[in-house]
Amino acid sequence: MDSLPLSIQDCFARRKAEGRGVLIPYLTAGYPDAETSLDLMGTLAASGADILELGIPFSDPLADGPTIQRSSFRALHEGMTVHGALELLRRFKTDHDLPVVLFTYLNPILQYGIGEFLSLAAEGGAQGLLLTDLPTGADPELESQIIASDLDLIRLLAPTTPRSRVIAVAEGGSGFLYYISRTGVTGARQELRADLGREVAAIREVVDLPIAVGFGISTPEQASLVAGVSEGVVVGSALIDALDQGGVGGAGAFLQGLREGMDDSRSGP
């Protein structure tokens, strides 16, 4: 495994210099159980992942489609907690340099205590935090607290975000911007929207941060297409499907396929 840089920013810069896209797989902490997800994290790191998005499960994942809902319910049923997810992070980081973004909903970390969560997450080696139900401006005090922490606050943009809001959303965000490729919840899709390239280009006009695209990416062809228009590719539900079908090895092979698809695109026209 090549020794990758620690910060998200460095990670994007390095891939950019190589003309390659950043591949960001999502996994649900504790799915199908804690030990398997730790195993999976290692396998993903060895299969072309540049950054890991580690989901802390929540009982009411209203931005997620059926696959991530199912993985979240199962992980909770298996006893995963915020503390358990931070423990997985810590164990993974003892022998990996790969940046990790924690992905969750607000309530579990509010109850854990936002200050304590932020410092334990940073101590455990997390580089970023993405909260699906904390849109820009929703809670300025809380947002400032996260921005002031050692973690990058990963902001999300949607196709419905008006142009006038894009700059405000990006402000305070760091690491990268997550562009939701379509209106809807997470989940693998056959088709990507035709105007994706134009939309990403419009965002890039006003924003300096690298842009990663997620929601619905499930094939090497799609990963290649997305890598052609953005700096990063996020894959979640399709990876969980691959895990369900082929175990940790199957998930690794699936990610490797995406990696190859993305890397092939740079030598294209």
Binding site: F58, S59, D60, P61, L62, A63, G65, Q69, F73, L76, T81, V82, H83, Y105, L106, N107, P108, I109, L110, Q111, Y112, G113, I114, T132, D133, L134, P135, T136, A138, D139, E141, L156, L157, A158, P159, T160, T161, P162, R165, V169, I180, T183, G184, V185
Partner: protein
């Protein structure tokens, strides 16, 4: 958790807010804007008032139940008869108002969540009236408990989608409605059924429901020449309670009492009393009292009544609780069932099981306190929908 002091727009004290996926922010801004314009538009309210009069049958009567008074040994009691609204509950006050807003925003498709089915029926009714497409999300368990309402919605052309995830009740139906809205937001309006959800929903729903309290206050002054000593209403999400409380918020001498569902008892974890036993947390887009475990996972709620079976509560209630302006109590399933029978037997009015919780609290009003004046109860809905469910329950377990 630490609750910081937040007083900005869309908050009730620290509660409320817009904790939703980014995709929905523009829709909430659009709704906020459309409502700000409509609020100031005389024609909007004239159209709504006319619908409430001719289609819904407002104003609803204020009725004095003398046999119930005699039975309970207290009074004067007044029941605000929201059960006499078209579709059988207060929910229609909100759905018609929101439907007029949806029409102003050019949305052609309507979605809603429902627990007991009353809000689903009211939404299906409004959509039939205006010829809009309607999809109602309902938990699998509630579909069984409230089969009659499912049939009513379908009769009026709505599609009822069964929700099998999570606890298969109102909470999960709401998750699914929000997921639909995230995907369909450009042409769809989500008519939330209670004073819950992200801003501006809690204040829009409250405003549309506040007709209950405005009418009741006037009627009470006419009947008794005085304000009520206490106003009592059941609280799930809390829309009928907010609707009747709102007119009395500034009248400090009027006690406001919200009755939550204690389910199988407050000493068990089978209840829905968010304000009595929850902690502040974020669910369905707002910060409010929430039933949850130590790890911030939402705890399953329980109530014999599907409409109260919800782990959250409207953010304005959380504020009223903390400020002490309203107090919140709870009533167990079996007490509610007794009240369901009592009102049926003494007055010939079958109340909804939700409403029966408010009635069941009346005997708990402290003796002596009741000398202070008339008591106003929001009879939020009728119980036809519950008759089959109660019959089943009582055959299965005669002690319940």
């Amino acid at each position: 958790m630490k609750v910081v002091s937040k007083q900005e727009k869309g908050r009730f004290g620290p509660y409320g807010g817009r904790y939703v996926p980014e995709t929905l922010i523009p829709a909430l801004e659009q709704l906020d804007e459309a409502y700000s314009v409509a609020r100031e538009d005389q024609r909007f309210w004239e159209e709504l008032d006319l619908l409430l009069k001719d289609f819904v049958g407002r104003p609803t009567p204020l009725y004095r139940p003398r046999r119930l008074e005699a039975e309970l040994g207290l009074g004067p009691l007044y029941l605000k008869r929201e059960d006499l609204n078209h579709t059988g509950a207060h929910k229609i006050n909100n759905t018609l108002g929101q439907l007029l807003l949806a029409r102003r925003m050019g949305k052609r498709r309507i979605i809603a969540e429902t627990g007991a089915g009353q809000h689903g029926v009211a939404t299906a009714t409004a959509c039939a009236l205006f010829g809009l497409d309607c999809v109602v999300y309902m938990g699998e368990e509630d579909i069984t408990r409230q089969a009659l309402n499912v049939f009513r919605m379908e009769l009026m052309g709505a599609e009822v989608r069964s929700v099998a995830s999570g606890t298969r009740t109102l909470k999960d139906a709401t998750n699914e409605a929000i997921r639909d809205w995230v995907a369909s937001v450009q042409d769809t309006h989500y008519i939330i059924g209670s004073v819950v959800g992200p801003d501006p929903f809690p204040r829009i729903v409250r405003d549309f429901q506040s007709v209950i309290g405005r009418e009741a206050k006037e009627q009470m002054l006419q009947a008794e020449g005085t304000l009520p000593w206490a106003v009592v209403a059941c609280v799930g999400g809390g829309s009928n309670a907010m609707g009747i409380f709102h007119a009395f918020l500034q009248d400090a001498e009027v006690s406001l009492i919200g009755v939550e569902a204690a389910g199988e008892g407050m000493d068990t974890d089978r209840h829905s009393a968010s304000l009595s036993a929850g902690k502040p947390g974020v669910l369905h887009g707002s910060l409010s009292y929430l039933l949850q475990d130590e790890d911030g996972q939402v705890a399953p709620a329980h109530s014999v009544s599907a409409g109260l079976d919800y782990p959250g509560v409207g953010p304005e209630h959380s504020h009223l609780r903390d400020s002490g302006r309203a107090r919140y109590v709870s009533i167990r399933d079996e007490e509610a069932l007794e009240a369901f029978h009592l009102l049926s037997r003494t007055e010939g009015i079958i109340p909804a099981l939700e409403t029966a919780h408010a009635l069941a609290y009346l005997p708990h009003l402290v003796q002596g306190e009741v000398e202070n004046g008339p008591i106003l109860v929001c009879l939020s809905g009728r119980g036809d929908k519950d008759v089959a469910h109660v019959a089943r329950l009582e055959q299965k377990d005669p002690t319940l």
